[in-house]
Amino acid sequence: MPASLRELRQRRNSVSTTKKITRAMELIAASRIIKAQQRAQAAAPYARELTRAVSAVATYSEVDHPLTTESENPTRAAVLLITADRGLAGAYSSSVIKQGEGLTERLRQEGLEVAPYLVGRKAAAYYGFRKREVAGSWEGFSDSPSYAEARAIADTLLEAFATPAEEGGVDEIHIVYTRFVSMLTQRAEVIRLLPLEVVEGDGSADTGSEVYPLYEFEPDAETVLDELLPLYVASRIQYCLLQSAASELASRQRAMKSATDNAEQLIERLTREANQARQAEITQEISEIVGGAAALADAAESE
């Protein structure tokens, strides 16, 4: 398409403005990832100690706790989707939503009713646009979640879990979050939060083969477990939130990096086209002048 020189220059300017924005977002995301990783690391000792304590109680007591008991015929399940508040993060939110849809479908086939709980504006927007009913939603902290937020989510979910299914409670709780594997790989994953299966260490601790000493429980094993498990649930949710936050920032950084690269390519192409157009204009002007001069000269000669 032959475009005028002015148009090409205008387009090049607008692309370079966009590039400045994407570049800035890339740098911001890159600097925040480090913070997010530090946070995830700072939370690790708590998760590790809590897992040790829960495992110790679980090993040495035969206490049945409501949070660990499977419902005989579950009828309702909660699904917690952890997505971003803001877009421009590549496929980050949409892959969580897609996983969530898959999980919802699977649970429906098992005959369960699904109650969605959402974290992040993107999931809320997706559900809102489709006018689906939402059991609970939180937003505004997707890239830097604090413990208080994890606790608030845990309290809501635990309350729903404690309520019988007939009265709007749930029998199972699943979480869809994005696991931060490395700067390049983040994977949307599904875990079942409740009923609880105590998992050793979240891959961060190697307590698997440890033999726990015979603890004395104060006041007694049941009360200790009663106190421990909600904390454990909150800590698992916090783990998921922190992983998701790091993943969100990493995907945003990658998306913005490729946007910047594309903008650079586009600018190069537009610059070349503009140069070509300029050159063509000059050539045309010269040939017009030369042609005109020749015509004048011919006219003068023939007279």
Binding site: A53, F217, V224, E227
Partner: protein
Amino acid sequence: MADPLHVEVVSADRAVWSGEAVSITARTTEGDLGILPGHSPVLAVLVPSGVEIATPEGHREVIAVDGGFVSCAQGRVSILSEYAALGGEIDAARARSELDDLLGRVDDHEPDEELQAAIARAQAQVKAAERGR
């Protein structure tokens, strides 16, 4: 004397304090619990209070906890609390005014569970801040 205890105090988002200790005093639901080196394995539920840790150098650290746990086994003690804070880090005046503010709200109506927990937490902080000096 047995080797000093190795203590770790962790809150939900960070490790608050870790080091050696010769004795620890914590308030559990059953009353005060003192832990000396060589204590038998125990796992106890804490109430909001100040946990006192005496180090081998003769210092005394006071840490405000809002419930949580203390677990002790094989010379290792870990204290877990959602919001633990070192006595030295707490601004005593601010903790005190927060407590007064909370207590002021009690007069208006019957304190609900949340408020009671908040008051207990503030009291623990004030105590830790005053003793930690």
